[in-house]
Amino acid sequence: MLATIPPFLVYLIGAPLALLIPNGSLRSAFMCLVPVVGILLLLDIPYGDHLTTSIVGQSVTLLRVDSLSFVFGLIFNIAAFLALVFAWHVRDAMQQVSTLLYAGSAVGAVFCGDLISLFVFWEATAITSVFLIWATRTEGSYHTGMRYLIIQVGSGVILLSGVLIQASQTGSVAFDAMKLDGLGTGLIFLAFGIKCAFPLLHNWLQDSYPAATATGTVTLSAFTTKLAVYALARGFPGTEVLIYIGAVMTVFPIFFAAVENNLRKVLAYSLNNQLGFMVVGIGVGTPLALNGTAAHAFCHILYKAVLFMSMGAVLHRTGTTKASELGGLYRSMPITMVCCVIGAASISAFPLFSGFVSKSLIQSATADTGHWIVWLVLLFASVGVLEHSGIKIPYFTFFGHDSGIRCKEAPWNMVTAMVLTAALCVGIGVYPAPLYAILPFPVDYQPYTVAHVVTQLQMLLFALLAFVFLMRKGLYPAEFRATNLDFDWIYRRALPVIIRGLGLGIDTVWSRLIGGSRAMVSASIDAASRNFGPYGIVGRTVRVGNGVAWVAVLLLVTLLVGYSAD
């Protein structure tokens, strides 16, 4: 019986229980225990479908454990544990509860075997995670959170529409591999794409991750997008178009990241770029490629966590993550610096670090299937990753121009979490066999060949040489405090202006939500409330005479319609 307790239930029960414990180390310890119990349960559950029941006449499976969901479920639990250790010092009940519920929703989503429960958890991740952004408690974070919430919930609504259509066409809501051939699957694909931050749908990511709290971003970075990767891998493996979407995803964020000043935003762009690799893997769809996607997601969660942790620690100590304000921090925070460099080396896929053993699976899979152009694009992207995550992040924070900031090393719990995560990155890089053992398909792959190690080192080190060269020549772009435009300009700037131009009543709800300028908001709310508010045509008390007049009108209409029938 114990074997079929779904791991998400542990989080669901753990969250309210945590609130009963006095706020302090005891509560933090209890919260860290939750994912541990989750992992133990997960290891105990046999592969197969469990907890199958029926809702709205459809079979619903709450716990489907197989080789694919196991990998993601395991890493989600591990990531939750590390994030909770990192956030040990946080005493904000709102963040604590939302971290647990958010992680629990993500874990729940990975294990559901049908689209209805997937939708439930899908929306749950959206709603629970937004509090990590709001927890910053600034005006900007409130608006960012609202935008984030609308897009995430919107993704859920699109998913539901797709599921409904799919259900009415096929009569089944099972969550298995689908063909991208109709409106239903198209909408489902779009919903996954929004969460996965496909190009042009990606801005919520760069918008929200820099807005969350120092600890919240670590949590955010682990789940939402990887859940989308899992969903794509489950639902659309081998879908050709994903290869090209993924290829674009790996390339375009590189340029944005290179000129972005806010280092957490740089990491958000870099996250985008890494997701591209996974999406390409799903698109290729061979066992090797899917293994690569799963492995890369696993490693990626860890090294991206350690990078966000190091930036979180810096933010915690200095109050900023802007490259223009930082520099020379290696003196104050040497341990954080080492962890950050390990994360940077992992994401850049240096041999002996985790990125190397996972990314090469995808790279090889594209070459094997003859996608040479895509192969070249991924190689291009690898150099780009080195630029913004491998060099820019550690260099501008810990070296570079000395900002003069002298602070303490990160708190012990942050250091512990970073060291643990960094150790996992190195461990997987040095000894990948255990990771390969749990991948969805049997692995017959050797990452450490002479050719592979040499070529990788050649590429990375010569790129590093280029960096040094450009730096010495003064050609490397300096960091400025600036806002850089991206596609979100469309809905943050252009759309409100257009809406103002149209001046439509109902659209003002939208413009209010996306937080356009205040004057415009109040003007447009006035317009809608004139019509719908307590004084408006629809919202006010209607005099009885007018009510009766409506009756007469409607009678006339009905009579005429009936009359016209014969």
Partner: protein, 113 residues
């Protein structure tokens, strides 16, 4: 949020030595660069020594990876610099209260610097 154990800044000997080592490296950047150049030179030589099994035709070209790494890196930088000309705006471009424009301290979780 101030009741958690503050991390001690006791002068840790191991850390101290590590930081001093880094200080020396930062003070002598040419040595670092020279080291990097030597490693790169060695790698370039290695390129001629081992037997290649190209999975993609271009891999067979001599010095493909070193040249690719160097050139693409430079391309990325120049591409980004061009992009910046187009997309750069003031920090409070979207709103006076957007995340980018907020004061540095707003994210601090109650800890002194």
């Amino acid at each position: 949020m101030s009741d958690h154990p503050a991390s001690p800044i006791t002068p840790d000997r191991a850390t101290g030595r590590f930081v001093r080592m880094l200080d020396w490296l930062v003070a002598n950047p040419m040595r670092v660069i020279a080291g990097l150049a030597i490693v790169c030179g060695l790698l370039a030589v290695v390129d001629l020594l081992y037997e290649k099994h190209p999975s993609v035709p271009v891999e067979a070209l001599p010095f493909f990876y070193p040249v690719f790494g160097f050139v693409i890196y430079a391309l990325v930088i120049f591409g980004a610099k061009t992009l910046r000309l187009i997309i750069r705006r003031r920090e409070d471009y979207y709103a006076p209260y957007s995340i980018d424009a907020e004061t540095p301290n707003s994210h601090m979780t109650g800890e002194q610097r």
